[in-house]
């Protein structure tokens, strides 16, 4: 569904702030582009290459901002087309992923993965309890067997009691 909203002055969207952040970052990085370590005076120095890149980034970012502001002026008289976006699901997905990575450190890989798969699938619209349970158990088991049992990669085991639980689980699936 597309809705039309007449707006004055156009829209400053995320792209504008993305460019602004890029310019600020480039300026900051340029300001720290020097070294106290003595290097050969005849060569271009270790910061020459990144400085060229940062100056390029700065110019492109400024150009983008300029185009953005000009475009903003030109669309101010037109009707602005707004595409609705499900930011709620997106923010939940990002927070869940962040929580999952944090959870892995605290409760270990298997428990965190079990919970995460259920939560993300539920967020994605899966409501069947059987499906949620089987997928989360299946995915956790398969990945654990592959990475711990077959490839001998030491996955995070969590802290306190979770460490012992994860340890016990990994000892079961190790070949």
């Amino acid at each position: 569904m597309r809705e039309k909203h007449p707006r004055k002055g156009g829209k400053i969207d995320g792209d504008f702030f993305f460019c602004l952040a890029l310019i600020i970052a480039a300026c900051f990085l340029l300001s720290i582009s020097s070294t106290t370590i003595k290097v050969d005076e005849n060569s271009l120095g270790p910061f020459f290459w990144p400085k060229v890149i940062l100056v390029g980034m700065l110019i492109c970012g400024a150009m983008k901002l300029f185009f953005h502001l000009r475009k903003r002026k030109s669309i101010s008289e037109d009707n602005h087309v707004n595409v609705p976006t499900n930011y709620k699901a997106l923010i939940f997905a990002v927070v869940l992923t962040f929580g999952y990575f944090l959870g892995i450190v605290l409760v270990g890989y298997p428990i965190a993965s079990l919970i995460f798969v259920i939560a993300l699938s539920y967020l994605g619209g899966i409501r069947s309890i059987k499906l949620l349970a089987s997928v989360s158990v299946g995915l956790t088991l398969i990945t654990s067997i592959l990475f711990v049992g077959v490839m001998y990669i030491s996955l995070p085991r969590g802290v306190w009691i979770f460490y012992d639980i994860t340890n016990w689980f990994f000892s079961l699936i190790k070949f």
Partner: protein, 502 residues
């Protein structure tokens, strides 16, 4: 020629061993499944497979990745034909005539055509790769630092100019990639740069971690933003495959041949790849047809041309990787990491130091493309079952593999957090149409570009003209500027034309 025969013999000997051959099967299966499912491409499969290559030897790793690459390009056609939803960007053109064929009740014929043409295109381009690599590698051996820098510069310019809607966005993405590659210790002087007081940053930012974040995690975030608006699609009718008859094949022979040549050549160009190859071939097939109006209504040529070309691009794309050590796109950039993990630098020297690896890649890709026929015919029905899996479940699985891929590299959580940050950056890049390919290639080729640029200047007493006065590097720099200027010239030309019209 003798060298090629010896290398191929080595390759055949290795490939026939079951512990090597099995990786072609696994790679093809994973590639076709990932390629077929919309939203998770063959490229994502290759990225997520990298951690699985850690315990493998380099030949097994390359067989797995190259087969996944071939399978992924073909797999995209299944959902294009059956669902009108391309599984991968390179299969967009296949929807134009593939889906109308399904609507006409000719899905089996469309799938059969896609399987045959993919196998033919891929097989022939693998043969071209086998024949062309050795002479090109010997030419590459004569390259000095200025030529290498010019080549990398040309590759970066090409990928930037053609990879997105906006040239400025492409250049910004490239600069971000180049800058990220410069974090860590400088290549010539060994001075730490931009570590911001974090000891982990001194080791640099791993491009595989960035790729997992930007491509896989970023894609999940983008999809979740639009998940509620997506309608679930159902496959219409019974799924099967139907081979081309000899008469149909003969009628398509020039389309297939032309698309194979176009696909291989475009695949060879840095940054161009299978997507552009399929569009160009489809356009050529339509323009050269006696009845261009029938395209889009469900004709065999409309399936044969893009499917031959996109698979032919796989062999072409491997040529610069193997001969020059320069990846032309995302998939080959990931393959470079497989080389690096094993302590190898792809390029002309590998032809002398590891002929058995080169032979195995040649034979492996030829066999993988032939196996597409068997895989396609037997398994299309099975693969269609994967299309029914809800995206939320796929996303959960992919996130698990993203974590495992980032963590398994060095067994540290730091890499996982870096991956998450790049997942968010990837989301913004996709949302605001910053192409991801220049960022990735900037990260992969940045250290090489800086190293060759500075060593050229050191060798030639800081003479900047060296890049323009040497014939090969001068030509490459000129070509690079032409590619950079092309979008600007086109924009001015279009503006003038529209002004004249009004």
């Amino acid at each position: 020629m003798d060298w090629l025969v010896t290398v191929m013999e080595m390759g055949v000997k290795i490939i026939t061993l079951p512990n090597y051959f099995v990786f072609i099967f696994i790679g093809l299966f994973i590639g076709v499944v990932f390629g077929a499912i919309p939203g998770i491409s063959g490229l994502m499969a290759i990225i997520l497979l990298v951690p699985f290559t850690y315990p493998l030897d380099i030949i097994q790793a390359m067989l797995l990745l190259t087969s996944t690459y071939c399978g992924g390009v073909f797999g995209g056609s299944i959902s294009s034909i059956l669902l009108n939803t391309p599984g991968a960007p390179e299969s967009v053109c296949t929807t134009f005539d593939g889906y109308p064929m399904t609507r006409k009740g000719l899905a089996a014929k469309a799938l059969g055509t896609a399987i045959e043409c993919s196998a033919i295109g891929g097989f022939l381009s693998a043969v071209v790769m086998t024949v062309a690599c050795a002479p090109l590698a010997s030419v590459a051996l004569s390259f000095d630092s200025p030529e290498y820098f010019a080549l990398v510069f040309m590759g970066l310019c090409v990928v930037t100019s053609i990879s997105g809607k906006s040239l400025v966005n492409g250049v910004i993405a490239l600069f971000i990639g180049l800058f990220l590659a410069s974090v860590g210790v400088s290549p010539i002087q060994g001075v730490p740069r931009y570590d911001l007081g974090f000891p982990q940053l001194r080791a640099g930012i791993d491009f595989i971690i960035v790729m997992i974040g930007v491509f896989a995690l970023g894609e999940i975030f983008v999809r979740f933003e639009t998940l509620s608006r997506e309608e679930s699609k159902k496959i219409e009718g019974k799924v099967g495959t139907n081979l081309l008859t000899i008469k149909e094949f003969l009628a398509l022979k020039w389309t297939i041949l032309r698309s194979f040549v176009t696909g291989t050549f475009i695949g060879f160009l840095p940054g161009a790849g299978a997507t552009i190859a399929s569009f160009v071939s489809y356009g050529m097939a339509r323009n050269l047809s006696d009845d261009p109006g029938k395209f889009g209504t469900g004709v065999l040529e409309g399936v044969a041309a893009p499917e031959t070309a996109n698979n032919a691009a796989t062999g072409g794309a491997m040529i610069p990787l193997l001969t020059l050590g320069i990846p032309g796109g995302g998939a080959t950039a990931v393959m470079i990491s497989a080389f690096m993990i094993k302590g190898l630098q792809p390029g002309p020297l590998v032809f002398m130091t590891n002929p058995e690896l080169i032979g195995s890649i040649f034979v492996g890709m030829i066999i993988a493309n032939l196996l597409i026929i068997i895989f396609g015919f037997i398994a299309v029905r099975a693969f269609t079952q994967f299309l029914k899996v809800p995206y939320a479940i796929l996303a959960s699985g992919i996130t698990l593999f993203c974590f495992l891929g980032a963590f398994a590299k060095r067994n540290v959580m730091y890499d996982v957090w870096v991956m998450l940050i790049f997942g968010i950056i990837g989301y913004f890049m996709k949302k605001y149409e910053y192409p991801v390919a220049p960022l990735v290639l900037g990260m992969v080729l940045g250290p090489l570009a800086e190293d060759k640029f500075l060593s050229s200047l050191i060798s030639y007493q800081n003479d900047f003209t060296i890049f323009f006065t040497r014939p090969i590097s001068g030509t490459m720099i000129m070509v690079a500027f032409c590619f950079l200027m092309y979008p600007l010239v086109m924009m001015v030309w279009k503006k003038r034309r529209s002004a004249n019209n009004t």
